[in-house]
Amino acid sequence: MATMDDRLLVEAIRAGDPQAPRELIARFQGVVFGLCFRMLGHRHDAEDAMQETFVRALRGIFGFDASRPIRPWLLEIAANRCRTAMALRARRPPAADPSRAVDRPDDRAGPHDPDDLAGELELALAQLRPDYRTVFALFHEQGLSYEEVARALGRPVGTIKTWLHRARAEMAAHLAARGVRC
């Protein structure tokens, strides 16, 4: 099962192999969760969205075109689930429960560790508008290609390139404003 390619994995799921769904989840939960976490900014919400993504994918596996790569398809479902979650979140009143706070780094000005470059980049990432942040995370964190990001987010490749370049420029300016130098 470990060496099975994605197409055979889809066929195994369709054939009712009980281990195949587990393999699908184990193989793609990292990238799906990464997308959900970056889009929603909240761990529990991201885990819920990830679960919904796999449930929908497994139930809709017979409608999937197995000649196409499965990762962008999964990410497309995940992005849709996240948009739905964000729409629901926007409609509900602000929660007093502190656990509902978005998991973002503390970006208040103040003393910081100039050697914590990863933390500084995380801060800069959190400052981006959601579209830019998602594209940056999918491209650099999850290693997706421009084409895969474009399909997952339902945008043209040119738009994805533009967003990524703008994201980098804004992050570079943010790091400079924070006094980060190499």
Partner: protein, 234 residues
């Protein structure tokens, strides 16, 4: 190199910074060095690009540190997801509704049997016959009503009615009865109240607790004491 080429070259360099795309082979390294040399030359001659050059260099170093950190990982969820994706069991919601319908029908039918108060004189034979006819009609109506909900519920309602009839009025009273002066049975409204109460409480007639709760219907006379078992425990 102009300023536009400068930005594009930097973006091509940064494209290769994510872990999976990073190529440290000799050809890639040589190409990278050549590009960086061109960038430096342009930055030295262009004040605005010189600032951007320093910013992009800082961004690249930060991206490398960021890529080396542990990624956010989900909690172990494979079992939970597989369970959630498995076909849902057939809904069983209709059963309690059917049982409740049957019990309600029985309760309604039992309400027809309200006898006169005990301090009133015993019913005359003609009144007794009318009561028997009404009981018979109610029995059939109850059966038809309960059958629309479910057959098991109908059977239960019928059994409850038969038990109450046999206990309280005697089996012969169901059909048009001969004249007799048999005493009218216990208060049927009490029976209706109890049956309706258990139906409202959601008792499941096949459960042990429900059998205990409805056991009084099988006793020779209506038990006035409250059952000890709670229907909620089913």
């Amino acid at each position: 190199m102009n300023c536009r080429d400068f930005d594009q070259t930097w973006n091509r360099l940064l494209d290769a910074e994510s872990g999976t795309r990073r190529d440290d082979g000799p050809e890639a390294a040589a190409s990278r060095l050549a590009r960086e040399s061109g960038l430096r030359e342009h930055a030295e001659s262009c004040p605005s690009c010189r600032i951007r050059h320093r910013q992009f260099e800082a961004l690249r170093v930060a991206m490398r540190a960021w890529s080396a950190r542990p990624r956010p990982e989900p909690a172990a969820a494979v079992d939970r997801i597989v369970l959630a994706a498995s076909p849902a069991p057939r809904p069983r919601r209709a059963w309690p509704l059917a049982w409740a319908s049957g019990l309600a029908a029985a309760a309604v039918a039992a309400s027809f049997f309200r006898p006169p108060p005990r301090d009133e004189p015993a019913p005359a034979p003609a009144r007794r016959a009318s009561l028997s006819v009404a009981m018979s009609d109610a029995r059939e109506a109850s059966l038809r009503l309960a059958l629309t909900a479910s057959e098991p519920a109908a059977r239960l309602g019928l059994a409850m009615l038969d038990a109450s009839i046999a206990t309280d009025f005697g089996p012969d009273d169901v059909a048009p009865a001969p004249d007799d002066d048999a005493e009218v049975g216990p208060d049927a409204s009490d029976l209706a109240t109890r049956v309706g109460g258990y139906a409202a409480a959601g008792a499941r007639p096949l459960s042990d607790a429900a059998r205990r709760a409805f056991g009084f219907l099988r006793t020779p006379s209506l038990d006035k004491t409250a059952p000890t078992a709670s229907p909620r425990g089913t």
